[in-house]
Symmetry: C2
């Protein structure tokens, strides 16, 4: 159950066996049914989450009621609204299960306790912040075609897991454009 989250945190620093068992003792298990929300707009993100199994989408809704997909997450990804979590201000995002998902939760109080108990946990929240640069694909200086190629190379699971309309939104293009890119139409 905890194997995958343990290997994930080991990437963030050196942890003793005691650190690890303290860590796992703080975790809560969440079963999130398809389409249910882990966080809704206006709520404060109080926890770090680890997606053990399933798939999760983070999106916002703009003034014209259009959805913009911010993150598409699959097994072994961390889930957080880093901005809301660190500032403890209301989130602008919805975090929703796309498939039925099993999620491990570490709340902010537990994280503080871990940090008090072992300096190794200090970098955890910080490192996770760096794992989530805003709009990694959308913002970039890359063309739509290059953004898709980059996603395909770095996160093939995302493409296998989510519908094309969400992937298009995540990549900052229209579904028609993504469809044409995938069909290999010449420039």
């Amino acid at each position: 159950m905890f194997d995958s989250i343990i290997s994930s945190i080991k990437g963030f620093g050196n942890f003793t066996e005691e650190d690890i068992s303290l860590f796992t003792s703080k975790l809560q298990v969440i079963n999130l049914a398809k389409n249910n929300f882990l966080l809704e707009e206006g709520q404060v993100c109080q926890s770090l989450y680890f997606l053990y199994e399933g798939s999760v989408r983070i999106y916002m809704i703009d003034n014209e009621s259009d959805e913009h997909t911010h993150e598409l997450l699959t097994a072994n990804d961390w889930i957080i609204d880093y901005e809301s979590f660190t500032s403890q201000k209301p989130s602008g995002y919805f975090i929703q299960a796309f498939h039925e998902s099993k999620i491990l939760e570490l709340n902010v109080y537990s994280l503080h306790e871990l940090i008090k108990a072992s300096a190794s946990f200090f970098r955890l929240g910080k490192v996770l912040g760096h794992e989530f640069p805003d709009y990694p694909y959308k913002n970039s200086l890359l063309s739509p075609r290059e953004r898709y190629a980059s996603l395909l190379a770095s996160k093939p699971m995302v493409i296998q897991t989510f519908p094309m309309k969400y992937i298009a939104s995540y990549l900052g293009m229209r579904p028609e454009t993504l469809s044409r890119i995938r069909s290999g139409i010449r420039i």
Copy 2:
């Protein structure tokens, strides 16, 4: 001399008179001549800076040797490569004086001493990170016209201080496009 930086940090938390004088005792004064660099690509950002007087540009150079302006800073702005500062890894940016500038410097060691001395300083580095979202205008979902309007509304000094070619680069558009937007050409 220190008035403006003192009012700036007061916005980040409650500081006692002792906090403030300890803080100012740690500051170094830098006079940076026009076109000189505060930081060059490959160097690690070791300090927080406060632009007391003058103007500073942060930019990167891409693989095609094209410059991309990342930040345009005027009096009373903080200056930092947050990513390099927190990770202590080499910066990808150049930080250069556009006009002759007076800058106050607080290095990372002094910041750590301040944090040890008073918990109020703990949020300083963190808050500054939030002051610098990556590419606030470039990334956005806004059109070039809207990005310019947004800059004009929120940072008119930037438009008065820097040449249009840098503003265009900062806003992620070509100088010709910015010129046309400013001339009020209909869509």
